[in-house]
Symmetry: C2
Subunit: 331 residues, 2 copies
DNA sequence: CTGAAAGCGCTAACAT
DNA sequence: ATGTTAGCGCTTTCAG
């Protein structure tokens, strides 16, 4: 049989469609009697609201789009997405909002996202790992509320966000090395158009000051291979380093391999610090001393900001959460 | 200004709404002249179709729901999801279908999914890592087409699927050990209500026959910690093992830690084989010899099956893709 | 507190 | 090949 409509429910309950609709939408003006009759009718008929019809009249869609800006191949390497996705789905489900996922890895993708959002197909936008100067930030300004999980470099004032205090994390690791008595501390950063790339380095520089010279800094792109490459480069350039702060656990795993190949013992000869406290941090040998980011909380706050905006807040402030040093065996 | 409707486009192009609609829906009966005028009008007005309105009349929603059945905490540990998600988003986007994500980790979640699907909010269902006897398999039978990425144990005839040939993978690794001259080969399996848990063990048993005794088999739950635990147990139970096939790379990382703690050298004393060829396989020491699953192809085939069903296919056959042995240093 | 009625924007069947 | 029109199922005034 066809799916029941609000009309069927109204008929079964002996009221008008309007009354059923009012109940469904939490309007207070429904008599107890009507309420009971309608609720019974709903469960008897197995009625489920037709979102398309509702959407057509309310002009809201009941869905939020999550935009993954990472180039496709790398999506695979990042251990952080699943937490964010999981938290977002949960929180949105509570509000009866569904989460639709889109990719924004190349120009075609991005255009699709813009069309989708401007076409009014989503009530809000959740940005993930958006890079500096991403052209479509502007395109989103005229649409529904957008927030980012992690700062959008260069658009911090435009797109509200929640993020871990990455700079603090950088400081925590670097201070730990200093307190351990390490003298030549190097760093392998992430891409310099991402907050994690920039701010972890800032924290490093905060502590080391002028000792943080160019020679001690190499850049990676978050992949393990890039960490290995950067470490090799660092070793060639400055053989006497006794500690290295790597901006992600995955890259740190690569650095570990390079150190092993070079015959350096970890942590005896060189201390290695990672970032993320992801699952790789435990599978390396030795297990990584790293910085834990409150990922779940960051995701939670991001969604909270978005919901506040959807509920009509004019303005929300960024939320920045502290990181934490996790000591294991690599440093 | 308000978003333009099909009416505005029709007016701007000097044709009727029906003609615009026909063009939009690929109907062949549109004159070249009208076509040009309409296309110009569309780009001038910035028109984007209102999916809700379309959905209301076509009874299709333009979205596919992906259901993640893994209990929440574990979602985090599995390195395979992102590939599947990425491939699915891509392929669906080409058909202008959007991907909505739902969790089915607990009873409440599952009920939500069933309501959603039966409420007609999706044109198709994509199941991920559904466990044996998952109660809501039945609930899905009356709704839109559903397919699974990976077999659904116990419902292989009910839910079409694409999957890697996990049993073959189990055979490949075990044969490799045998050919290497290993004599006491143990196995750490995944959960026995998942295809990966069952079939990788079947492959192991295919090769070893009656030599695959209970004493040589321990069970894990895909987590690294469980791999470590199972390895310790195996070592206590059968100290003379010289090879172990671990059903996932992550668990293998745990096994490696247990072997190191027990003072066994890998691969000299004990060969270790993983499964998945995930990123951890490269970050362990030594890097893991493992089985590669054609994840992207599996995801692709899964989506293809779903699309075929949506397009009206009465029946589709399961697709099973071969795995491949990847030799590194752990065996 | 409730019923009636007017659309929301679109597709598809029917005319022409 | 194209215009006209009848809804799709719902929310939301507006009366009462």
């Amino acid at each position: 049989m066809k799916r029941p409509t609000i009309h069927d429910v109204a008929a079964a309950a002996g009221v008008s469609r309007g009354t059923v609709s009012r109940l469904l939408n939490g309007d207070k003006y429904v008599s107890p009697a009507a309420r009971v009759a309608i609720e019974r009718a709903i469960s008897e008929t197995g009625y489920v609201v037709n979102r398309a019809a509702r959407s057509l009249v309310t002009q809201r869609t009941g869905s939020i789009v999550m935009v993954l800006s990472e180039p496709h191949e790398k999506l695979f390497e990042d251990p952080n997405y699943s937490t964010t996705i999981r938290v977002a789905i949960r929180m949105l489900a509570e509000r009866d909002l569904s989460l639709v996922m889109m990719l924004a890895g190349d120009e075609g993708d991005r255009e699709r996202v813009v069309r989708y959002v401007r076409g009014g197909h989503a009530d809000g936008v959740l940005l993930l790992s958006t890079h500096a100067g991403d052209p479509f930030i502007d395109a989103l300004r005229s649409g529904p509320p957008a927030v980012s999980c992690g700062a959008v470099i260069g658009s911090e004032g435009v797109i509200p966000y929640a993020a871990a205090n990455e700079r603090l994390g950088g400081r925590q690791m670097t201070e730990y090395f200093v307190n351990q008595g390490r003298r030549r501390i190097a760093m392998i950063t992430g891409p310099m158009d991402t907050p994690g790339g920039i701010q972890r380095l800032e924290g490093f520089a905060d502590v080391l000051g002028r000792k943080a010279t160019k020679k001690l800094i190499a850049h990676g792109d978050w992949t393990q291979a890039s960490g290995e490459r950067a470490m090799t480069e660092l070793l060639a350039r400055t053989p006497d380093i006794d500690a290295v702060f790597v901006a992600s656990d995955l890259m740190a795993a690569g650095a570990l391999a390079a150190l092993r190949a070079a015959g350096r013992r970890v942590p005896d000869d060189v201390a290695v610090g990672g970032f993320d406290d992801s699952s790789v941090a435990l599978s390396t040998h030795p297990p990584l001393t790293t910085i834990r980011q409150p990922l779940a909380e960051v995701a939670q706050e991001t969604v909270r900001l978005l919901l506040a905006l959807i509920d009509g807040a004019e303005h929300v402030d960024p939320v920045i959460l502290p990181t934490e040093l996790v000591i294991r065996e690599s440093a």
